[in-house]
Symmetry: C2
Subunit: 206 residues, 2 copies
Amino acid sequence: MVETRPYHHGDLRSALLTAALEVLEEGGVAALSLRGTAARAGVSHAAPKHHFGNRKGLVTAIATIGYSRFAATMAEECARSAQNPLGQVRAINRGYVKFALQNKAIFRLMFSRDHYDQDNLELAQAACRAFTLLEETSRSVARALGVVEADAWRDIANLIWTTVHGYAHLLIDGRLVNRETGEPEPIPDIGRLLFEGFSGTGRKAG
Amino acid sequence: MVETRPYHHGDLRSALLTAALEVLEEGGVAALSLRGTAARAGVSHAAPKHHFGNRKGLVTAIATIGYSRFAATMAEECARSAQNPLGQVRAINRGYVKFALQNKAIFRLMFSRDHYDQDNLELAQAACRAFTLLEETSRSVARALGVVEADAWRDIANLIWTTVHGYAHLLIDGRLVNRETGEPEPIPDIGRLLFEGFSGTGRKAG
DNA sequence: GACAAATTTTTACGCCGTAAAGATTGCCAT
DNA sequence: ATGGCAATCTTTACGGCGTAAAAATTTGTC
C-alpha cells in the first residue's frame, strides 16, 4: 500500500505558515515567496492563494504572528521583573531587544510598512496589544516622576519606544558594535536616565 | 536624417543611477529592478550588468549616494545652527529626521542590511562620513557635561543615535502619529534631557 | 444520490535576475 | 591609417516568481 496523502490537506493554512516562518528566518523577507513556501509545505504552487489571496496576505499573516510573539516576549519579561516603574521599563527594553535579536527577519518585516497590510484587523489588534504594554509602563513612569501634565506620559512613551526601537534596529543591522572590542554596545539605560539623570555613565573611568 | 543615439551611451552609469533613484522613490525598494531601471534609461535590460554586476551592486551604489546626501543634510543643519553642544545635537537630530522624511525609500534601504554590500569601500567611506558627524557632536557633549570617563562619549553617541534613529524609523513608518490629532509626535529632545534632565515635558498642562 | 461549496492542482502569461554569446565602438600601438 | 584589443551595449536563453483562470477532487448538505 502506498502512503498517499489526501487531496485535502486538512490544515494547510497553518502548515503554510510554519513553512513560511522557516523560509523567513533562513533567507529573510526577500526569500519569503508563495511558491517557495508552497514547495516547502509539499503542495502545488497555487495552493496558498486560496488561504492568503496574494503574497501580501501571507506576509500580513506572518506579521500578525510576529506581533503576538513580540507582545508575549515583553509580557514575560515584565512578569519576572521588579514590579515598579524602573523595573518595568527595563523589562520592556529587555523584551523588545530580546525578541528583535531572536527573530531578526520577522522583526524587520514587522517594521517595514508596505510589506504587509497594516489595516488588517487581526494584525492591528496584535500590534495594539504589544504597544499597550509600553504605554502602560510609560504611564506608571509618569506617575512615579510626579509630572503633572495630563499627557506627559506620551513624551515618556515616545522616548522609551524611540530609544529601544532605534537600539534594536541598529543592533540587528550590526551597527552598534565597538570597533575595538567587537562587542555590541549596551542599550542606553533610559530608565535610569529618566529617574536619575545623566549622572554616571556606567563605564569604568579610563 | 534619423535621430539615432549612439551605440555607446557615454555616461550610462550615472544615467542608470538617476533612473534607479526615480524608480526607488516611486515604488520603494521592491520596485528597484535592474530591468526596470534599464527600461527607464532607454537601454537594453542587460546593460546595467556591466556597470553594477548584479542587483546588489546597483543597490549598493544607490545606498552610497544615500549616505553622501545623508551626511550633507546633517552637515548643513550643523552649519546653520548654534555652535555649541546643545545646538549641534539638535542640528544632528533635525538633519537626520529631515533626510529620512524627504528620502523615505532610500533611508529604509540604507538601514536594511542584506539589501546591499556593506563591505563596499566607497559605501563604507560615505557611511563613515555621516556617522563621524554624530560622534564628534557626542564628544563635545561629553566635554560640556564634564563627564570624566574616557569613552563616556560612546554612551552619549549611542543614546543620541539610538533615539534619533528610532524616531526617524518609526516616523516614516507612520507609527508616531497622535491618534486624536493625527499630528506626528515631536522628536524627544534628547539634548535637553542630557543637559537639564527630565524636568519639564514641553507640553501644556492638562 | 445529487448538487453546491470548498479546497487543491494544472495551465498560462508576463516580469525579474542572471549568464553567455554576439554586435558595435573607442583606444592604442605600430 | 590600420589592425587588433578592450570596453560597452544588445540579443538570446533559462529558471524562478506573482497572479489569474480553469479544471480536478473532496466535503458538506439536502
